[in-house]
Symmetry: C2
Subunit: 195 residues, 2 copies
């Protein structure tokens, strides 16, 4: 190669694989995309892919982690823009629904993620990325006495599941007012948790 050192080129190749893998996985789903297609799009060969990742599912895992962290960052940013703990929760939920509207994120994070990595591993990644923020927000609200004292983990899964499905539904059969209606219904459910 004409430019740069080994480390730079290495990083370029890795990023190209992640970028094209993400694009193809998102567009057509994990199962419908072959390794040969990914490496061709990235301008490398299978040797490069197996030099950087352990296999197809490991590449997908890296892509998923990237997607999860992007979503988590958006949610955290929306929450941090608010001061009131309750407003932080609502803003975070809204941001999650908005992020889930992206079909790329849906296919990778919600459709293929659990099936490719298995539910337990998917949950671990989700926990590390976004579910943790939700749990912290709810815990803060319980401690502050804003919502009734109750076990937080069930709430986390009920809410994140509700938002996952809602995001998926909204992107698929979106009527114009559905997003607003869904946010309204979600906030009504959140309201129910208050004392």
């Amino acid at each position: 190669m004409t430019h740069g050192g080994r480390a730079l080129q290495r990083e370029r190749t890795r990023q190209a694989l992640l970028r094209e893998g993400r694009r193809l996985f998102a567009a057509r789903g994990y199962g419908a995309v072959g390794l040969s297609e990914i490496v061709r799009a990235a301008g490398v060969t299978k040797g490069a892919l197996y030099h950087h990742f352990e296999g197809k599912s490991d590449l997908f895992r890296a892509v998923l982690e990237q997607v999860q962290q992007e979503v988590a960052r958006a949610v955290a940013a929306a929450a941090d823009a608010q001061d009131d703990p309750w407003a932080r929760l609502v803003a975070g939920c809204r941001a999650f629904l908005a992020a889930g509207a992206d079909p790329e994120i849906q296919q990778i994070m919600l459709v293929d993620g659990p099936a490719v990595l298995g539910w337990s591993e998917w949950r671990a990644l989700d926990e590390a990325a976004s579910a943790r923020h939700l749990a912290e927000a709810l815990t803060a609200l319980v401690e502050a006495g804003v919502i009734a004292p109750q076990p937080v983990p069930p709430l986390v899964h009920l809410l994140s599941g509700a938002m996952n499905e809602a995001a998926l539904w909204l992107a698929g059969s979106a009527g114009p007012g559905d997003l607003a209606d869904t946010q309204a219904a979600l906030e009504r459910m959140l309201e129910a948790l208050r004392g």
Copy 2:
């Protein structure tokens, strides 16, 4: 073959494929099970499988439909045992959570289902089986004035998503009181929809 007519034997073969396919898909996931394994377990060959189904994913679709209908039947039975519309909704939700506790049902219905068939087709099957009951129950409650007038579809997806995730979580990391806590939290959310 020594016994029975062609139609009987045909049905026996089809049921054997469905039974073993369901068992293997549930135990190890769609991707990790090969056709050769299924037909060996069923005591037939690939020719038989392709005579009855269009391919691997079509067999899975048939298995999924079977699972969905079993769940829907259990939910409907629990709901029909109640007279009050509100009690019917709560009983149906409880029954769904109980049904989702089965790891077989989880893997097929919630993990592999969307990834193998695609989200839109999965939703169509879910709609035809169990989501329809939820929508009808909610519509009845709205019309009866038990819960506030509001668009029903967003509620359906928020609630079914919440219950799907909760069922998955309960089966995986089940603490002893988690089921009760989850049901309590869910019913608190349902309560929020009233008046």
